[in-house]
Structures are given as structure tokens and as C-alpha cells.
Amino acid sequence: MDQSRRDVVALLAATSAALSWPGKGRTTPSFRLGLTPVFLDNDANLLEQLGRALAEASGFPVEFEQRRTYEEVTGLLLQGSVDVAWLCGYPYLQHQDTLSLLAVPVWRGQPRYQSYLIVGAEDSATALSDLAGSVHAFSDPDSNSGYLMTVSDLIRAGQVPGSFFDRSIFTYGHRNVVRAVASGLVRSGSVDGYVWEVLSTVDPALTRRTKVIAKSEWVGFPPFCARKDRIQEARIRSFQKALFSLGRLPAGRQVLDLLEFDSLTSGEPQLFDGIAARMSDLDALR
């Protein structure tokens, strides 16, 4: 199990690759699920298990479409190149008029998570305000925990996000943010609290070189989304049911355990109100 968990956060986070899951019947067109390594490392073992579990639960083959950024995956979903995408709350809200919630993972008893502000283990900073003029790592410009939270915090503190840091970089992966901070490439980083916690158990040597100096409020966990106009499609419904029933199947349970999820649930849009508030702070600046 530990080995499998370690596989979750394996290398190669930056490549953009398509990995297909060969289903039982080649005649049936594959169901396509869009993914991004921002949140989920494209570990072959995990994806294989996830694909097998979803195929077993839904009864049709599931094919993964991976892109490097949320923007790209969101684009795939909006244009119909994928049937469903595992997005972040921020891009979901950005396209709330077009997208519908399909399912939200339940982590540690609730469908929510936090954003962490991390620095190097030896760093003297204790708050975001201590990091002025330094180099900061975001994960993705469309990530709630890896961008929006920190930028909106700066706005709330009266800072100009574009000039507060001397330089900011995007790593397109929460694990990469942790690596960037741990290695000293950057002084601080905005990271998904769920990812950092999972890493602290599967790769403690990495997280030990960082420390959390600020945590955000609890907001809705990155959800599975589909286009509103297709939400009634049978296969999308079947896929949603499959997500809900994953915990009841041995293969599904195994994948949920790997991801440290309790289950998946149907989330309400209100889960993401916190994110929406921060979006409005950002929009106000624009």
C-alpha cells in the first residue's frame, strides 16, 4: 500500500501525455475523463487502477485525457473533447454557467480542503507579509489553492499581487510547488493542503524540508464536472453513479484508499462560496 501511495506522487509531473485505458469492448466508444497533473500526478499505476475501477463501476471503458494546465483541460471539457473533467473549484466557478457539478471527493470526513502557504523549513517567515520581495511558486493560474487564495489574501491585505513578490513562477503541479520550496528554488509557495498532507505521509522527507505558515479557510474540494447541456446523457449519469459507488467495489475502494478519499458525493454549488468570494476580490482589482 505504501508503495502504491508513493506511486501517487511519482515523478514526471510536467509532461503532458495522453494515456488510454483499453476497455472490454473496442466497439464501444471510450468515455473520456479529463485530468491535470496540477492536482493528480499522472502516475501510471494509479491511473491504471482508477481506470479499471471506473470501467468496472460504470460498465464502459474510461479513457484519460491529460493536459498540463487547468485551462487546457477546462477547454477540452467546454468544447466537448472530454465527457467529464476533474477540475478545481476555481475553473468550475469561472464557467459555472456552462458546467455542472458531478461529484466531489470526501476527504477526512468532508468535501472540503484548504490552501497552505509554505516556506522552507529553516525560513524565518511566519506570515504572507514576511515574504515581500521574494520568489514565490504558484501551481496554476486557474488553481484555487495554488493561486487564487494567496493572490486574494494579498488583495485583502492591500498589496498589489503583481509587485508584492519579486518574481513568481508557475510549476503546474502542487507537488512541484513543494519541491520548489524544499529545494530553495523559491522562498515560498501556494499549495493544495490535501496534496501537502498526503505527501507528508507518503514522502515525509520532502515535506519535512518545508513548513506551513498559513492555512486558508475550508472550501469545496476540486470537483468532477460535466457540461450542463450533457448532464442528462446516460453515460454521464452512469459515470456519476460509478463515482458514487466506487467505495463499494474492491478495486474502487483500493483507489479511494490510494487517494485517501472516504468516498465521492454529490456536492452543492454552495460548497464553493468561499472561492467565489475570493474571485470577486480578484475581479474587483481588475
Binding site: A14, V135, R167, I169, T171, Y172, S183, G184, L185
Partner: protein, 473 residues
């Protein structure tokens, strides 16, 4: 140098072999290390070139869009797969010379000046592994699609290559030392073996100071070799030297008889002359037997003549007695000499100056035989040299350190050959007699010294016999 010459030849050859081996070892080792250094430099250069080229391809677009994370991630993955941790550090800058990312961001923070990192870096073309530093720093331009988009600096860990070179150096020195020592020993034994005949020859030559000793047949090297021929030549030479020495010895022994032979005619006259008178005396006695006065006078004449004959015969016998080597000289020996030389001198109508200023004890320490032979030879020589009506002289006197003898004549002086015979021990030139050489040898036996002086009036041969001659001789 002189100390080196004192070392035996066999050891010298071994030392020379060892020295040459050391020189050869140094030259060969230097060559090997140079080649090794060149090969290693070439290897590092190829590696560095491949590293830079690969990074240029991978990083070009990333550097172009200033993607710090992707540059870092690529560098880190490249370093993690580099051969044996060969790439110790890499940093990449953008076109403005600011660090974009490095494998060790704490050492080269994002945005820091690149030039400070690459101050001592070598370019790919000039990359050399000649120093002793285990980290080699290089820099190269980062070119993408023909555009200079940034720069790369890398530190290559070449500690293993330097260690390999040090190990090769040590092994070369170690095995060269062993090979040199081994070959020197082999050289020593081989030389000793090769030189054994020469050593044998030197031993044989040095064993006897008088004449070289021939090498026994069982010790002779095979005759077909150079040493065999050398040994055979040596043996022939040794035999010739021995034969010559033997001949000289026999010649010297015969010289006494030779000199006596030279006297024989004059001695015959010496005996013949009084014989007429003596026979006349016997006739007179027979004819005037009744005249006692005449008989007495004739008998006296007869007695004097017979006494003279007796003296001549005694002196001749004395000169040729064989068992008189231990007899000390006496004044009578000088009288004998006078008697023996007298006929030669008279025959040539020469003036003989006979000056014997000594007491019997002055000549007692010297052996009569040698003294007589020396003086007889010199006097006969002087008489022969002085010619008709010449002057011949003998002066014997006591000196503080022994006996001083001077033989003089009015002749033309000694020839160069004669001088050599008398004064030196060098081989006697062919021709001529051995009388003077005999004098030389006898004087030497008595530890005497010979001096020559040639004046307008007379030539003198002076001999000083130390009084200890007998004890030592």
C-alpha cells in the same frame, strides 16, 4: 666519478642498467600519463559537449519563455540520470545574464548574476583535465533555433578520473621500481656470469707479480667464444713471458762465463809469458847445477813465476767458484780483480788507476761473488770503451751510508741502449749483451743505486751500496 670507477665492473653494469631502466620508466610513464590525460580530457569534453547539447535542446524553448520551474525540473532530472553523479552542478541563465534556475538553487538563486558563477569556467573548446581539482567548471552558450537565448554553466565531477590517473601513476612507479630492481639484479647476475672469464683472467694476471700465470685447461672458457680466444691468447702470452724470463735468467747465469771467456786469451798470455822465463830458469838450473848462486837465483825466479801463475789460476778459480755465494767480500777480492783486469789493460796499453781506500771491515757486509761480478763487468766494459792508450780507473771508498764504488774510463760514454740495460728494469732490447743488465740486477739485489756522469775527461759509473745490503739482500 672516481668513486663510481672503484665499484666493480659487474655492479657498474647493473647500476647502468638500473639507471637506463629508470630513465626508460620515467619516459614511458610520462608518455602513458600524457596519453591517459589526453584520453580523459577527450572523454570529459565529449561528455560535456553531449551534456550541453542535450540541455540546449531541452532547455531552449523553456529559457526562451523564462519558465523557471521547467528549467529547474529539467536540470534536476538531467542531473539525476547523469553518469555516476558526473554533473555536480548546473545553472542556466537567460539572455540578460540572470540565473533562471540551477540544480542547487540556494547556491545560484533565481535572478542572481550568472557571471559570478562562471568566472573560472572553461569553454568547451579549451576544456582541459590538467589541473588537480576534482571539479571541472565549464560554460557554454545556450543556442536555440540559431538564437543565443542564455548560457549554461556546469560543474563536472572528475574526481574519479583524477583518482584513476593517480592510481595509474602509482602503479607505474611501483611496477617500474620492481621491474628496474629486478632487471638490475638480473643484469648483475648476467654481467657477473658474462664477466667471469675476465675476472678469471685478471685474477691469474694479478696472482704473480713477476710472470703471468696461465689459466689451467679445465678453467678455460669454450674456445669458439671471444673469451675463449682471449684466454688462449693470454695463455700463449704467459708462456712466452715465462720462456723469455727463463731465457734471461739462463743468459744472466752464463754471463759470468762469458766475461771469463773474454779474459781467456789475455790469461793465456799471462800464463804463457812467464812460462818462457820459467823454462829458461829450469835450463839454467840444469846447466849450472854446481853453481849454487846461479841455482838459487834461478830458483827464486822460478818461485816468483810460479807464484804469479798460482795467483792467476787462483783468481780465475775464485771467479768461477759455484759455492761461494755466502762468502763475504775482502780486500783480496780487489787484488783478484786487479789481477783479472790487468792483462786486458796491458794488452790495450791503458793507464789503470787503482784506488782502494778501504779497510777490510768496510767490504765485509757485502757478498764477494756479486761484488766481484759487478766490478769485473764494469771494468771490462770500461777497458773496452777506453780503447788503446785510454784511461781506466776504479775508486772504492767507504761512505757514511755504505760503500762507494766509482768505475771511470776515457771512452765515448754509454749508448742509449747500454744505459737502458744498466739503469732500468725494462725489457732488454734485442741485440747487445746482457752484462750491463746483469750489473743492474745484481746492484738491485743489493739495494744499491747507480749514477752515471759523463764529463769531458772521463765517464763515471758510481754505485752506492748501503751497508744494510746484506741483511736485506
Amino acid at each position: 666519478m672516481s668513486r663510481f670507477i672503484r665499484i666493480p665492473l659487474t655492479a657498474r653494469v647493473a647500476l647502468v642498467v638500473a639507471g637506463l631502466m629508470v630513465l626508460l620508466g620515467i619516459a614511458a610513464s610520462q608518455q602513458i600519463l600524457t596519453i591517459l590525460g589526453r584520453v580523459q580530457t577527450e572523454r570529459v569534453r565529449e561528455l560535456a559537449t553531449a551534456h550541453v547539447e542535450a540541455l540546449s535542446v531541452a532547455l531552449g524553448p523553456l529559457v526562451l519563455r523564462n519558465d523557471v520551474w521547467e528549467v529547474y525540473d529539467t536540470l534536476e532530472r538531467a542531473a539525476s540520470v547523469s553518469e555516476k553523479g558526473r554533473i555536480a552542478f548546473t545553472a542556466v541563465s537567460d539572455a540578460s545574464g540572470q540565473v533562471l534556475a540551477a540544480t542547487d538553487p540556494r547556491r545560484a538563486p533565481v535572478g542572481s548574476p550568472f557571471e559570478a558563477l562562471a568566472m573560472t569556467a572553461q569553454t568547451l573548446d579549451a576544456l582541459s583535465l590538467s589541473g588537480s581539482q576534482s571539479i571541472l567548471q565549464l560554460k557554454a552558450p545556450l543556442v536555440f533555433q540559431g538564437r543565443l537565448v542564455g548560457q549554461i554553466t556546469s560543474e563536472l565531477n572528475v574526481g574519479d578520473l583524477l583518482a584513476e590517473r593517480a592510481r595509474v601513476s602509482f602503479l607505474l612507479v611501483f611496477w617500474n621500481a620492481i621491474a628496474t630492481a629486478g632487471l638490475a639484479l638480473v643484469g648483475l647476475f648476467a654481467t657477473r656470469r658474462i664477466m667471469a672469464p675476465i675476472t678469471l683472467l685478471a685474477e691469474r694476471m694479478g696472482r704473480s707479480a713477476e710472470a703471468p700465470e696461465p689459466i689451467p685447461a679445465e678453467e678455460l672458457p669454450p674456445s669458439q667464444t671471444e673469451f675463449g680466444r682471449l684466454a688462449a691468447t693470454y695463455n700463449a702470452m704467459a708462456a712466452a713471458v715465462r720462456e723469455k724470463a727463463e731465457a734471461e735468467r739462463r743468459l744472466a747465469a752464463r754471463e759470468r762465463f762469458v766475461s771469463l771467456g773474454r779474459l781467456s786469451s789475455s790469461l793465456a798470455h799471462e800464463i804463457n809469458n812467464p812460462l818462457g822465463g820459467l823454462l829458461n830458469a829450469t835450463d839454467t838450473i840444469r846447466n849450472y847445477a854446481d853453481n849454487p848462486q846461479v841455482v838459487r837465483r834461478s830458483a827464486e825466479l822460478l818461485e816468483r813465476g810460479l807464484k804469479h801463475l798460482r795467483d792467476v789460476v787462483r783468481a780465475t778459480l775464485e771467479q768461477n767458484r759455484i759455492d761461494r755465494s755466502g762468502v763475504s767480500a775482502s780486500l783480496a777480492d780487489f787484488e783478484d780483480l786487479h789481477l783479472l783486469v790487468g792483462p786486458e789493460v796491458r794488452r790495450r796499453a791503458q793507464n789503470l788507476v787503482w784506488d782502494i781506500q778501504i779497510a777490510p771491515q768496510d767490504v765485509a757486509p757485502f757478498p764477494a761473488s756479486q761484488l766481484r761480478q759487478i766490478l769485473l763487468n764494469l771494468l771490462l766494459n770500461a777497458s773496452a770503451a777506453a780503447g788503446e792508450n785510454g784511461d781506466v780507473g776504479l775508486c772504492v771508498a767507504s761512505a757514511t751510508e755504505g760503500l762507494r764504488v766509482v768505475v771511470s774510463d776515457s771512452g765515448p760514454g754509454l749508448s742509449a741502449d747500454a744505459r737502458q740495460r744498466l739503469l732500468s728494469s725494462q725489457p732488454v732490447p734485442p741485440g747487445g749483451g746482457v752484462g750491463l743488465r746483469l750489473v743492474h740486477d745484481l746492484v738491485q739485489d743489493l739495494n744499491g743505486q747507480i749514477h752515471l756522469s759523463e764529463g769531458e775527461v772521463a765517464n763515471q759509473i758510481e754505485i752506492l751500496f748501503p751497508s744494510t745490503a746484506r741483511d736485506e739482500g
